[in-house]
C-alpha cells in the first residue's frame, strides 16, 4: 500500500480522465462519424427540400457542383442548385442522402434492437434453465447462424410487400443467434463466479441475479454485439434494396444504387449517382467498425496494453 501511494506520478496518471476506457479514440471517432451523418440528415430536413428526393422533381443527370459532364448531347456543369447532382430519374442526390441515410440507420437500429431483445431472453433462458431448453436454444442458434439470411429474406420479400419497419423486423429474425450465444456463454461462466453464488446464498431472486448482478457485466459485450448486428442488418437491408426489393416508393441509399445499376449509371460515367450513397454507407460501416473496436477495448482490457 505504502509503496503505491508514495509514488505521486502513478497517482496522477490513475486519475487522468483519459484512463476511462469508454473514452478510447476508436469509440470516439466511430461515434463521431455516425453522429455527423445523423446531424447532417437532421439539419438537412429543415434546410433542404426533401421533396426533391422524389422522381422528376429535378432536371436529369446533372453533375455535382464544380463537375462538368460531357455526353453526346453536350456538356453540363454542376450548379449549387443541386450540389450533389441529380440522378437519371430527376431526384436530387443531396435530398436522397438526407432522406435515405437516417432510414438506413433506422433499419439497422430496429433490427438490431429486436434481435437483441430475443437474444437476451433466449440467452438467459438457455444459460439459467439448462437441460432440454438449453439444448433446443443452442441447436437453433447454431443452425440459424449458418443460413444465408439474405436468401430467405429475398424469397419472403419478393412475395410480401414490406415497409421500413416490416423489413427491419424480418431482418431481425436472423439477428438473434449472435447475442443468444454470447449471453448464454457469459451466463454459464458467471453462474459459477463468487459474486453470483453470494447473491444466491443471500436470497436474491433469479430476476435480480440476472439484471442486477449479471447484466452490468454484460453491457460492453452486449453493446459490441448490438453494433455487429447493426452492421449485418444494414448490409442485409442494402442488399435487398439493391436487388430492387424493400419499400418501393421511398428513396433509400440501396434503391439509389439499384437504379444506377439498372439505368446504366455506371457505364454512362454518372459516378455521383451510386458514389454518394456508397460513400455514406462506407462512412456508416467504418463508423460502426470503429465503435466495435472501441467496445472491444473496454470489454477486453488486455487489448488496452500496447502489444510489442
Amino acid at each position: 500500500m505504502a509503496t503505491i501511494s508514495a509514488n505521486p506520478k502513478r497517482k496522477i496518471s490513475r486519475f487522468n480522465r483519459f484512463d476511462n476506457p469508454w473514452l478510447n479514440p476508436f469509440l470516439i471517432t466511430g461515434v463521431f462519424l455516425i453522429v455527423i451523418i445523423l446531424l447532417g440528415a437532421f439539419i438537412g430536413q429543415f434546410t433542404w427540400d426533401s421533396d426533391l428526393a422524389l422522381v422528376g422533381n429535378s432536371p436529369l443527370k446533372q453533375p455535382p457542383v464544380g463537375v462538368s459532364h460531357t455526353t453526346l448531347r453536350g456538356t453540363s456543369v454542376g450548379t449549387w442548385e443541386h450540389p450533389l447532382g441529380t440522378d437519371g430519374d430527376g431526384r436530387d442526390m443531396l435530398a436522397v442522402m438526407i432522406v435515405g441515410a437516417p432510414r438506413t440507420l433506422a433499419i439497422g437500429f430496429i433490427a438490431a434492437a429486436a434481435g437483441m431483445g430475443f437474444g437476451i431472453l433466449l440467452g438467459f433462458m438457455a444459460g439459467f434453465m439448462g437441460g432440454r431448453v438449453d439444448d433446443v436454444i443452442r441447436i437453433a442458434s447454431d443452425t440459424t447462424i449458418t443460413i444465408p439470411s439474405i436468401l430467405v429474406l429475398i424469397v419472403i420479400q419478393s412475395v410480401i410487400p414490406v415497409n421500413l419497419v416490416g423489413m427491419a423486423l424480418l431482418i431481425s429474425a436472423f439477428a438473434w443467434p449472435g447475442p443468444t450465444r454470447l449471453i448464454r456463454g457469459q451466463v454459464l461462466s458467471m453462474k459459477e463466479s463468487g459474486y453470483v453464488k453470494m447473491a444466491r446464498i443471500s436470497g436474491a431472486s433469479t430476476f435480480d441475479i440476472m439484471f442486477k448482478e449479471m447484466m452490468p457485466n454484460l453491457i460492453p459485450y452486449l453493446a459490441a454485439s448490438f453494433i455487429g448486428n447493426m452492421q449485418g442488418s444494414i448490409l442485409a437491408a442494402i442488399g435487398l434494396e439493391v436487388l430492387g426489393l424493400g419499400p418501393q416508393r421511398v428513396p433509400t441509399l440501396g434503391k439509389s444504387i439499384y437504379w444506377s445499376v439498372q439505368l446504366s449509371g455506371l457505364s454512362q460515367g454518372l459516378w455521383w449517382w451510386w458514389g454518394f450513397p456508397a460513400l455514406i454507407l462506407v462512412v456508416i460501416f467504418v463508423g460502426l467498425l470503429l465503435i466495435n473496436l472501441g467496445l472491444d477495448e473496454i470489454s477486453n482490457p488486455r487489448l488496452r496494453q500496447k502489444v510489442e
Binding site: 443452425t143 449458418t146 424469397v155 410480401i160 455506371l266
Partner: protein, 336 residues
C-alpha cells in the same frame, strides 16, 4: 473413417438436415402468415403495374386450385417438402417451358467456381498475413498493413464491387464489365474459353477477397498471440528448433483451428455477399438468376435458386465438419 466417430457423424448430419429444414420452413411459413396468399399478392402486384387485369378473381381461383392452396395445410406442407427433396420446383413463370431446375443447375457451377476460388484466396492470404503479423521476425512494413486491412473489412463486398467495376471496367477498361465469358466464345474445354472465364472472374473475385481477408488477418493474429504464449511453444523454442519450423509446426497449425470453425460460421454471409457481387457484375451465376427472377416476378425461380444456395451452404458446412476431425482429432470425441 479414421477420426470420425459415428455419434459425431450422425449429430452433424442431423444439424445439416435441421438447418435446411428450418430455412425451408421459414421460406414457406412467413409468406403465408402475411394477409393474403402469394397468388393474390402476385396478381395485386400485376394489377399495380398493368393498371387492371380482367377476371382477376377467376385467375386467382384457378391458380389456387392448380397449386392446391385449398388443401389442408399439412398436405400442402408435405408436398412442399417432398418437392424440395426431389428438386422439383415446377416451371419458371417468366420463361415458361424451362423448369426451375434447369435454370438453377445452369447457374450453380458459376457461383460455386467463383465462391471456392475467392474463399481459398482470402482464407490463405488472410491467415498468412495474420501469422506474419504475430511473428517477431516479420519486417515492419508488413506489420503496417494491419490498419489498412482493418478499414477494408468494414466495406461490404457489394460496394467494393461497384467501385472496382466503375474504375477498372468502365473508366480504365482493363477488365470486362459483363457476363462470365466473352461474347461469341463457344463454351468448351478450349484455352480461349478458359482464359476468357478467368479474365472475367478477376474483378468479382477481387471484390470479395479485398474486403474479406482483413477479418481473417485479425483473427489469425489474435490466435497466434494466444498460442505463442503456450508452454509447448516455449519448449519448442528452448529445444532450439529453427524459428520457422517452430512457427509452422507448433504455432500456425494450432492457431488455424478456430479460423476453420469461423469459416463455417461465416459461410452464410459470404454466400449472400457473393450473390450481390454477381448481380453487380451481371455474372451469370445464381445472383443474376435471382435478380432476373425478382424483376420478372418469377416466384418459383426465386424460391428454387434461394433454396439450392441454402442447401449448398449447409452442405459445405457439413463437409467442413467432416474434414475438421481429420485436422483436429480431439473434436470428434468432444462432449461424449
Amino acid at each position: 473413417m479414421k477420426g470420425i466417430t459415428l455419434v459425431y457423424f450422425l449429430r452433424r448430419f442431423g444439424i445439416f438436415l435441421l438447418t435446411v429444414w428450418i430455412a425451408a420452413t421459414l421460406i414457406y411459413i412467413i409468406p403465408r402468415m402475411a394477409p393474403g396468399d402469394p397468388i393474390s399478392a402476385m396478381v395485386a402486384r400485376m394489377t399495380q403495374q398493368a393498371g387492371y387485369i380482367e377476371n382477376s378473381d377467376v385467375i386467382i381461383a384457378g391458380w389456387r386450385k392448380r397449386f392446391g392452396l385449398d388443401d389442408p395445410w399439412y398436405l400442402q406442407y408435405g408436398r412442399y417438402l417432398k418437392n424440395l427433396v426431389t428438386f422439383d420446383f415446377g416451371y419458371s413463370l417468366a420463361s415458361f417451358p424451362t423448369t426451375v431446375k434447369e435454370i438453377v443447375f445452369r447457374a450453380l457451377p458459376w457461383t460455386l467456381g467463383l465462391l471456392s476460388v475467392s474463399t481459398a484466396l482470402f482464407f490463405f492470404i488472410g491467415n498468412f498475413l495474420g501469422a506474419m503479423l504475430a511473428w517477431n521476425k516479420t519486417p515492419r512494413i508488413i506489420k503496417g498493413l494491419i490498419p489498412v486491412s482493418m478499414i477494408f473489412t468494414s466495406v461490404p463486398s457489394l460496394l467494393a464491387a461497384l467501385m472496382l467495376l466503375y474504375f477498372f471496367a468502365f473508366q480504365l477498361g482493363w477488365f470486362p464489365s459483363l457476363s462470365a465469358y466473352g461474347r461469341g466464345i463457344v463454351p468448351g474445354w478450349t484455352w480461349t474459353f478458359i482464359g476468357s472465364v478467368m479474365w472475367h472472374a478477376i474483378l468479382p473475385i477481387m471484390s470479395i477477397v479485398v474486403v474479406t481477408f482483413g477479418f481473417w488477418t485479425l483473427g489469425m493474429r489474435g490466435m497466434m498471440i494466444t498460442v505463442e504464449g503456450e508452454d509447448y511453444v516455449t519448449l519448442a523454442k528452448a529445444k532450439g528448433l529453427k524459428p520457422f519450423y517452430s512457427l509452422y509446426r507448433y504455432t500456425i497449425r494450432n492457431a488455424i483451428l478456430p479460423q476453420i470453425t469461423a469459416l463455417a460460421l461465416t459461410l452464410g454471409t459470404l454466400v449472400g455477399g457473393q450473390v450481390l457481387v454477381e448481380y453487380i457484375f451481371s455474372y451469370q451465376g445464381m445472383g443474376n438468376a435471382i435478380f432476373t427472377a425478382i424483376r420478372n416476378q418469377d416466384y418459383p425461380v426465386i424460391q428454387g435458386t434461394s433454396y439450392i444456395l441454402i442447401l449448398t451452404t449447409a452442405l459445405a458446412v457439413f463437409i467442413m465438419d467432416m474434414i475438421y476431425p481429420l485436422i483436429d482429432p480431439r473434436i470428434s470425441h468432444e462432449g461424449n
